[in-house]
Symmetry: none
Subunit: 195 residues, 4 copies
């Protein structure tokens, strides 16, 4: 119905794709407009600056990743199995929709100056962080995970997975990402589990 919503999302998708592959500064607004067959001027009717567009994208990707984690959270299963599912999910995303994770790594994590105003703390990625927090607290509640500072656990999860996707992108891994799921899930479980 509301055409603006449809068009805004198309802009987010196109910009996400370009930012995540070329980087924030190497992508121009005309690039984005051309990639989706829209005029530069009209793009500015939807997002009033390149920075605002970048901030909307990180929320957009965070929502999508968060929704995926939520699906795991809502499934049955013990924490060990859920860790494996999250790792598998993350790597699956890195293969099938790499733009979201790459945006995280290459744009959000890297160009702090862009996100300085409006994305303080983890504000713009809260959808994603919240789901991992829920996962972690349930794991602690049911006694499977050691009770520790959430960010000690979150940093492990995200740093490990993000770092690994980076290594994969660098071409230093011998095998496909999926091959490492079990190893990594085990490492994470060992790190976080109740002794």
């Amino acid at each position: 119905m509301d055409k603006r919503i449809g068009k805004s999302e198309k802009i987010l998708d196109a910009a996400l794709m370009l930012f995540s592959t070329r980087g924030f500064y190497a992508t121009t607004i005309p690039d984005i407009a051309k990639a989706m067959g829209m005029s530069v001027g009209n793009l500015y009717n939807y997002f009033s600056s390149k920075e605002i567009l970048a901030k909307e994208i990180i929320k957009y990707s965070s929502d999508i990743l968060g929704a995926e984690i939520r699906r795991v959270n809502e499934e049955e299963g013990n924490t060990k199995e859920k860790i494996r599912k999250i790792v598998a999910l993350y790597f699956e995303m890195a293969s099938s929709k790499p733009q979201h994770i790459n945006y995280f790594l290459r744009v959000y994590l890297a160009n702090r100056e862009v996100f300085k105003d409006g994305c303080e703390g983890m504000l713009c990625v809260s959808a994603f962080v919240t789901e991992l927090m829920i996962f972690f607290e349930e794991g602690v509640a049911c006694g499977e995970l050691r009770n520790q500072d959430f960010f000690s656990a979150f940093g492990l999860f995200m740093g490990y997975l993000g770092g690994f996707v980076f290594l994969n992108g660098e071409g230093v891994l011998e095998k496909d990402l999926n091959h490492y799921v079990d190893d990594i899930a085990l490492n994470i479980y060992n790190a976080l589990r109740h002794p």
Copy 2:
């Protein structure tokens, strides 16, 4: 005597400082020149392009970080203690000389297009990676660490620590970095140790 050596290093330091705080694209060559009281033209006598400067910096920082790890490798002690030392060292660096680690996270990891030619694979950070490889292999050799793919372990180490320093930079951690050393070192040890 040889002034060029001294000056090159001063440029590396000044550029490293600016790149690591403002990002690669938000730092201009005139910024760097001004920061060290040098003319733009003369800076180009030492580094013939901004990209080349960026590549030299990553080698420079990798060497410095690698040398620190080597000192731990050469000390006595079991692997569990060494993990703790490496984590402490990393966080100490993140506090006292954050430019090296931030450059890693914000410039090297993020702006892949800059390092595409000449830093393939882990070429420009090999000094650092090599030391961690030595650490890991010694841990495996003496039976303390599980024998697994090196990059599975490396990704854990570096992703975890890097991610944590990022979280710290975002101001989401309640306490000082040093406070988390034990937790994180334990998590890593649990993840990697021989069962």
Copy 3:
């Protein structure tokens, strides 16, 4: 209606004027933009580099000069008269629209590095060369001109006329260019005619 066509041509004219009087390297893009009341950035919307602009100009001037020669080719008259007409035409151009001939002499002929890619051989001046080739071959066909290598004749024609315009520009000629038309046309005719 189509403003782009009009504007492109205006740029060609303005740049041609400046390049031909000041030379390629002594003319800057801001000079050209200012001369026509246009912004630097917008000029790049029409010609994506200074070199490309220079190459388009030589084609543009070659077309204009070629069209003039064609008019002579299409007129009635014997070859001797046509030679005189071409010399007169050339000198008239050198007086009324000197930019075309000066561009030829000062930019195209001189700055070979600029035209290296894309103007190999006589590619960018073919409109002009072709008309002279037609003139020459018709002269041979009707028995008035000696049958010799085309470029031996072309070099005479163009070198002579170009050199003479250069001398005129240097201020070493005592009289107006037009004064020399008969002498020069006769010299050329004598040089090329069938014995």
Copy 4:
């Protein structure tokens, strides 16, 4: 004895070589200094600016070319033969020492702004022009050449030969320069001879 003379000439030679192949603006002073193993600063002890160097070179080349023509002038023979010798000499120079003729065509003829002050008229090439003037006047005096304005004849000679060398450089000639000597000498003789 006087070392300055020796060094000055070496600079002229090195600069001539570079200017004539790369053009005036594409050749830098450091290029010249490096080409002859001299320091930039010292080069400025001999020639106080790039423009002055360029002006000295055109005199230098003009002297050398003039001396060659003088040798022909001083030989025995009729004018027709001398024309042939001059053409042959010019093409021989274009093959064996192309720097002089190319400097003429690519630097002197092209970058008028450089020679504006100090080389007015044909001041800096007078050695060369003078010899051709002697040749021409002797040809007239002995009745072989038509008495016409000197520059009408000079323009023919120089424009023709220069234009032909240019065409040769462009690679549009099918055969070696020497192949065209007879044709061209005949053309010139026909153009200038007494009817």
